[in-house]
């Protein structure tokens, strides 16, 4: 017997109602049920950070939450950052300008980690930035251009 639970979740300010199995991970809910494939799935055990989203404004791993746990909550995914493709969030624009990505697989998770980080640390040192990025794995860049992008973004957002 499969349990089915009715949930209502607000994602990027839009309300969604769905029936889900309790074991459905929030990362899979966002991608498969809502078609929001910007949230990437890497390791699926909380290590790589690719699936990082905002739950009530705080960065969390979407692969370590069940969709049913987000019932009644507000979520922001990477799709919620830019108004449209020609009007990127300053953080996204900084990644573009400073070459802060190569393959881009880790980028959504990194952006969603940095949104609250830069709110709490508007003037971060390089050390702060590297520490903030420690929960997100990038296999392409060697991180240097990501750090540059975060510095640029911090400057623009101040």
């Amino acid at each position: 017997m499969t349990q089915s639970i009715s949930i209502t979740i607000t994602v990027n300010e839009k309300e969604y109602k769905r029936e889900v199995e309790p074991r459905l991970l929030l990362s899979d809910f966002l991608r498969h049920e809502l078609g929001l494939t910007g949230t990437h799935v890497g390791c699926e055990h909380g290590v790589c950070g690719a699936c990082t989203i905002l739950l009530e404004g705080e960065s969390v791993r979407a692969c370590l939450l069940f969709a049913v746990q987000a019932d009644g909550h507000q979520i922001t995914t990477v799709e919620g950052l830019a108004k449209d493709k020609d009007d990127l969030h300053p953080l996204q624009q900084s990644f573009w300008d400073a070459h802060g990505l190569q393959c881009g697989y880790c980028t959504p998770g990194i952006l969603m980690t940095l949104i609250p980080f830069l709110k709490q640390n508007p003037n971060p040192t390089e050390d702060d930035i590297r520490h903030a990025l420690s929960g997100n794995l990038c296999r392409c860049t060697g991180y240097q251009h990501i750090v540059d992008a975060v510095r640029l973004a911090a400057e623009r957002l101040r």
Partner: protein, 292 residues
Amino acid sequence: MKPAPFEYHAPDSLEQALGLMNEYAGEAKILAGGQSLVPAMNFRIVQPGVLIDLNRVQELSYIRQEGNVMRVGAMARERDLEFDSAIADRTPLLAEAMPFIAHPQIRNRGTIGGSLVNADPAAELPVLMLALSARLKAKSASGERWIDAQDFFAGMFTTALAPDEILVEIELPFMAPRTGWSFMEVAPRAGDYALMGVAALVTFDENGKCQTAKLVYLNAGDGPVDAKEAAGMLAGEMLNDTSIESAAAVASEKEITPFGNVHTSPEFQRHLANVLTGKALKQAIQRAGERP
């Protein structure tokens, strides 16, 4: 990767949760922050038949002072402990160690109770509970009891909790006057599991003699390791480099039993324990002088 199917309950009161634990004892797992349980479920290492989610039980998410103790609800998030001013003031050892626990994204969800019940020998919180002489309150449908931290951890990923019990509160005595503290660990990268770590506390009397000391280690055995002999060597002494080195040697060579892993040999862990103990004790001694 998908967890095996389970029956899901999300009670909104502790009473309901205790009723469910009573009903499904042995079959049910508590879902707290989920930062260790959900990965294990994703890998299907753990396949609970019933999951009781405590995230809607508001009454377990508090941090407050009462008399000479901090009372922390088991569902208080690690990130809240990290930034709590009373914790920083009353139990600064705990505040100092919080940022070493994984990453902010994990601490935003992870709870103190969840980490303690998970009882991972490489985790920081069990070590801190022993160092701070915490008491843990367990509740079941039929009653409640207090368990000293040193009796709570019963081996690798094992605690003294009965199948129908829920850890509900952690009681932390304020750190005494003239007490210095230090938490140090060595990890390959920030946020990774530490190869070795130590929590050190030293309390001095009015004449500058060490009254009591505590040295507790992570990843050094099948639970948090309380190096009582080494700490006992410091009590009653005027501390100097020689007494620090002797205590570090006893703790690292005799009292801990590290297993090694893919990143380290047991010998290297013992070496780290020795070096970290010396550094941590020196920092703790210095801080004790700054905290009359």
